[in-house]
């Protein structure tokens, strides 16, 4: 195959999402995109760039400044047969829409015993590391994972971003879709002819024998970097990108831990009652006889997100991950 005809292109995650949205809109006329500033502006991160121009103001529209309105009307539009893709501008602004998500979006399929479908995707750029002001660096994913009736996924690289957004839109259940905002501009090769793994599966990104690290979203890059660094010290880390946060797909993690005997779970979010707690609890139970050390968690602290000049210390980084590796190996 020559370079000219190669379908592969190097894209950023932002572009991957944009192209994925575009493909989903082309595939199904019921897909609509709504949110604050998603039209002419293309979203504050430009994820919806050009979509209004190409699909019209009926299918891509700016909304009033009201998140409950965004989710609540999306519910009504779904009842009417649409497949709304809602953009929440920043993680910290999903809370005015939390009631509609938890009380309605998550429950209507169950309430109606399947008579109503809720194929709504709520896109949320999440996490810190971009030097932003308050409320722009939150990691609220555990709230949604704790909410039955929702599905929750987190993409971590441009290729997954491209596929996962399409799969989420095609899913007949409500999907809370997390995008690691500080990774929007990282690049990877996308070959759109290679078909993707199913949406609700986790993936082993790197195999290893010394210890396992499970993570998701913005921390995947950090953990991969840590694994590369650790290799130089002769330490082979197995890295798993969870991808689906609800339902969790822990089988690959169990398999891995049965081989390595050690697990570290990494997330930016505060730790108390979080997804990392869930992973630790489940693995501690399932792999009770295989674990040679307790599951360690490397997370954000149980404090509000600090002023951004402190975020380097707040966010787990390569060093904190490697420190945990040292600690887990010390058992």
């Amino acid at each position: 195959m020559t370079a000219d005809t190669s379908p592969t292109q190097k894209i950023t995650m932002a572009k991957g999402l944009n192209q994925g949205l575009r493909a989903a809109m082309e595939a199904d006329p019921k897909v609509i995109v709504m949110g604050e500033d998603v039209g002419k502006l293309g979203g504050v991160f430009r994820i919806t760039d050009g979509l209004q121009k190409d699909f019209g103001e009926q299918r891509v529209f700016d909304t009033p400044l009201s998140e409950s309105g965004i989710i609540g009307t999306a519910v009504g539009l779904a009842v009417r047969g649409y497949r709304p893709v809602c953009e929440i501008q920043f993680d910290g602004f999903v809370f005015p829409g939390f009631d509609q998500i938890v009380s309605q979006l998550a429950k209507l399929h169950y309430r109606s015993q399947g008579k109503l479908l809720m194929p709504v995707v709520v896109r949320i750029p999440n996490g810190g590391g971009i030097g932003a002001v308050e409320h722009h660096s939150e990691s609220p994913e555990s709230y949604f994972a704790h909410t039955p009736g929702l599905k929750v996924v987190a993409c971590a690289n441009p290729v997954d971003a491209y596929w996962m957004i399409q799969q989420a839109i095609a899913c007949d259940d409500p999907v809370i879709f997390f995008e690691p905002k500080r990774r929007y501009w990282e690049k990877a090769e996308l070959d759109p002819t290679v078909s993707p793994p199913p949406l609700f599966t986790s993936r082993v990104l790197r195999t290893g024998t010394t210890a396992t690290i499970a993570t998701y979203g913005p921390m995947v890059r950090t953990v991969l970097d840590a694994a590369a660094a650790a290799e130089q010290d002769g330490c082979q880390l197995e890295v798993i990108d969870l991808r689906t946060l609800s339902p969790l797909d822990l089988a690959p993690v169990f398999d891995s831990v049965r081989r390595t005997g050690r697990l570290i779970c990494v997330s930016e979010a505060p730790s108390e009652a979080s997804l990392t707690a869930e992973v630790a609890a489940r693995v501690s139970q399932e792999c009770f006889y295989s674990l040679e050390a307790p599951v360690l968690r490397v997370t954000g602290f149980d404090t509000p997100y600090p002023p951004s000049k402190c975020e380097e210390d707040y966010l787990p980084d390569l060093d904190r991950v490697l420190d945990a590796v040292d600690r887990v190996l010390a058992y």
């Binding site: 609540g72 047969g81 009631d99 309605q104 015993q113």
Partner: protein, 404 residues
């Protein structure tokens, strides 16, 4: 640092008042009391007085045959009877709870009967009368209150969304649905166009979602009738806990019309709602309708209204009973024979028996119901929990039935 010298103003509060169209200089108490005048006034639109007298109205009127009047009467009697029977079923332990509609029959039948076969309704939780108009049988309402389901009817084929308990949530669903009607190009003709109607109470008007629904519906010209049943109470909170001024005025600030109708007058409610739906279908939506009515029973069967309101209030409202005034009208004008009333009464008795029989024979769901339809596309997590639990549950049956 700011400059220290602050200029002084010559504008007096009195002068200022004139800006708002108030010339005098009333006391603060007077101002607010004035604003709070929420009673019935000339702005309350009526076609049938509490005494059963037919009045006309310069803008709206209704041409209505005796048969049509009878059928409205029949609907109201039947939903009232179903309501009373369900209330009794709760008292007898057959239902865990009931939410009575008593007193709101005209508002609900008037609104429900105004709907065309293409219109969609989003109720709150007290709209048993609207359900009736849309062909949702009263038996289908029982599951919710017996703890068997969260709503059993098909919201799509009945065009009656499921009951929504979190106050005002449904107002945004209705807005989204109506936006969809517009996106689908179903707006334009007063008869064949589509519209949506959304039901909510006076208390609901204080929720953020209500406002966002107003904003969105106005911005997107949604074909949506906001139908407020102001029954004057939100559990124990009187109207003054939600507003200073009549609720129908809310819409003014959003740039769409609001109208107040006597919600105990089925004819006026029918006429106004029909007008409002036509406005919406032609593209002039949204419209707010406030139906002034009264919650004649407790908030729910769990409530004890003697703790917060006077009997005299109820007595006053009994004089404005929505069903009685139609009966009086039919009798006084000779529009219905005694046999008609006997027939309706017999139908009501039959309905009550049917409801009771149905209720008593409703099967309780098994534990598998817990795990049913959590997702459209199965979740291994829920499936595993289901399988585990059902196996565990079956182990008791194996042991001889009961838990230890």
């Amino acid at each position: 640092m700011p400059s220290p010298d602050i200029p002084s103003s010559r504008s007096s509060p009195a002068a200022a008042h004139t800006v708002m169209g108030v010339d005098a200089q009333p006391s603060p108490q007077q101002v607010i009391a004035g604003l709070r005048a929420t009673g019935e006034g000339e702005d309350l639109f009526q076609l049938l007085t509490p005494e059963g007298e037919r009045v006309s109205h310069p803008q709206f009127d209704l041409e209505i045959s005796p048969a049509e009047l009878q059928s409205l009467y029949r609907d109201m009697v039947l939903v009232r009877r179903a309501d009373r029977e369900a209330n009794a079923l709760q008292r007898q332990g057959q239902l865990g709870l009931w939410v009575p509609l008593l007193g709101q029959e005209a508002a609900q039948i008037g609104a429900g009967r105004a709907m065309g076969p293409q219109d969609m309704a989003f109720p709150s939780y007290r709209e048993h009368g609207v359900a009736w108009c849309l062909g949702v049988d009263p038996t289908e309402l029982l599951g919710i209150f017996r703890g068997i389901d969260h709503g059993s009817w098909d919201p799509i084929s009945t065009r009656f969304a499921l009951y929504t308990i979190v106050i005002a949530n449904q107002c945004l669903h209705a807005t989204g649905y109506a936006m969809g009607q517009r996106l689908d190009g179903k707006i334009g003709d007063a008869e064949t166009g589509e519209a949506t109607i959304c039901f909510f109470g006076d208390g609901a008007t204080s929720q953020g979602d209500m406002h966002e629904a107003f904003v969105w519906a106005a911005v997107y010209d949604a074909p949506l009738v906001f139908f407020c049943q102001n029954n004057q109470w939100a559990i124990s909170a009187g109207l003054d806990r939600q507003t200073r001024v009549p609720l129908y005025r809310r819409s003014q600030g959003y740039g769409f019309p609001g109208i107040r109708v006597d919600g105990n007058d089925v004819l006026a409610t029918l006429a106004v709602t029909r007008w409002a739906l036509r406005e919406c279908r032609t593209g002039n939506g949204p419209v707010l309708v406030e139906a002034l009515t009264y919650r004649m029973d407790a908030h729910t069967t769990s409530d004890d209204p003697t703790r917060y309101r006077l009997d005299t209030e109820l007595e006053e409202w009994k004089l404005k009973d929505p069903v009685e005034r139609v009966r009086v009208h039919l009798v006084r004008e000779g529009l219905a024979k005694p046999e008609f009333f006997q027939g309706v009464a017999a139908e009501a008795d039959e309905l009550a028996v049917r409801l009771r029989d149905y209720c008593n024979s409703m099967p309780a769901p098994g534990p598998e119901r817990i795990f049913s339809e959590v997702y459209a596309e199965a979740s291994p997590q829920v499936d595993a929990q289901r399988d585990d639990y059902l196996a565990y549950h079956a182990s008791f049956a194996d042991q001889g039935g009961d838990h230890r």
